[in-house]
């Protein structure tokens, strides 16, 4: 916890590829995982984050700093989140959502989930498979059986794409 009063406390985070990052405690505690460590007095020294690589952690810290600089204004926070995620490719989004899950940051998790859902919305099965590189491991018979079982999901549904 804060050793001196008046100066903002800084935490040191370590990624799983041994990169060290310095971040203001006030921003880092957006992560419930880190907040619990701080509250338990376990945040002194270096905090190892074994499930997050340096590239992703750098991005998450940018987000932490950006969002914590915005005062309690949900609309402004939302527009920051949208802008922050707008230029991220799916690989990065997947890394971010895993990191957010590990760090227990619900606001970032929700935002990334919404972004992924947006991509899938009104798209056909074939389109989603191609977009995300999903390997269809069904045999044709299995696929036909699953389709039959979920026939209702194809009724009255229009998709944006041709397939």
């Amino acid at each position: 916890m804060a050793a001196e009063t008046g100066t903002p406390t800084t935490l040191t985070l370590k990624s799983n590829d041994d990169e060290l990052f310095s971040v203001a405690e006030s921003a880092a505690i957006l992560s419930v995982t880190i907040r619990n460590m701080v509250e338990d007095g376990c945040a002194g020294g270096v905090i190892p984050l074994d499930n997050v690589d340096g590239k992703t952690l750098a991005s998450v810290i940018t987000y932490m700093n950006g969002i914590s600089a915005i005062p309690a204004d949900e609309e402004k926070k939302k527009s920051y989140r949208d802008k922050f995620l707008s230029d991220k490719d799916f690989e990065t989004l997947a890394d971010m959502v895993l990191a957010a899950n590990y760090l227990n940051m619900s606001c970032l998790m929700d935002a990334v989930s919404a972004k992924i859902a947006q991509v899938m919305e009104k798209k056909s099965v074939g389109w989603v498979r191609r977009k995300f590189g999903i390997e269809n491991d069904y045999t044709p018979e299995e696929e036909a059986a699953v389709k039959e079982e979920h026939k209702w999901t194809f009724e009255g549904v229009e998709t944006d794409d041709d397939n």
């Binding site: 859902a117 498979r129 999903i134 491991d137 209702w152």
Partner: protein, 208 residues
């Protein structure tokens, strides 16, 4: 600290195992641009994503691959939107006067569509696996004659600690009495013990 991290690790590890299993299983492989990163995400993240899609869209992901077959059954949002099925049916007397045959055929259509709708809700409710449901919405022309099914669905929703419950029954012209909401289901004196503390929103349309 060690304990906490361990806890989080176990949350993520089972997914890795599942992924390996899936890869081994791979019966048919196809050339893809990326490595199917999305399917490797943990169940709880994918379930969050699916909960943001319409129920039909979420259900349709079952066809993607075996990894996705049952994921949608954990969705937190069960919005049984019946507008699509109702759109094609108009049994009101507005506009052009209809012949008796026309009215009769539309009435029959409405009945068969209603059976289909109820079958849909029943099958989803039966296969649903999440212990909690955030949103539960019934939206179809139903009335008091359907109360047995509706009550069963309500019991299901309440048993899943529903947070937002909506009964929206648009009424066409030839129609029976309104469905009466079974207050006893939610009464504290009820013999059945339901936890309705979770309920934050309750909305009715054409319900007594």
């Amino acid at each position: 600290m060690g304990v906490k991290r361990l806890k989080i690790d176990t949350k993520i590890q089972p997914e890795k195992k599942k992924t390996k299993k899936k890869n081994k299983r791979g019966k048919r492989s196809s050339v893809v641009d990326n490595d199917d990163r999305i399917s490797q995400l943990p169940d709880e993240i994918l379930t969050d994503v699916l909960s943001l899609l319409s129920l039909k869209e979420a259900g349709r992901t079952s066809v993607l691959s075996s990894r996705w077959m049952n994921l949608w059954k954990h969705t937190h949002s069960l919005d049984f939107d019946g507008q699509c099925a109702l759109r094609g049916i108009s049994i009101s007397n507005e506009g052009k006067k209809k012949s008796l045959e026309e009215v009769e055929s539309q009435y029959k259509l409405l009945k068969s569509e209603k059976r289909k709708y109820m079958k849909w809700v029943n099958s989803v409710v039966q296969s649903h696996k999440s212990p909690t449901v955030k949103q539960f919405r019934i939206n179809y022309s139903l009335d008091t004659s359907d109360r047995c099914s509706i009550n069963r669905w309500l019991e299901f929703a309440v048993s899943r600690q529903v947070q937002s419950l909506e009964l929206d029954f648009p009424i066409p012209t030839y129609w029976g009495d309104c469905y009466r909401f079974p207050e006893e289901l939610f009464a504290p004196s009820s013999n059945k013990v339901f936890d309705v503390k979770s309920l934050k929103e309750l909305s009715f349309k054409n319900v007594n």
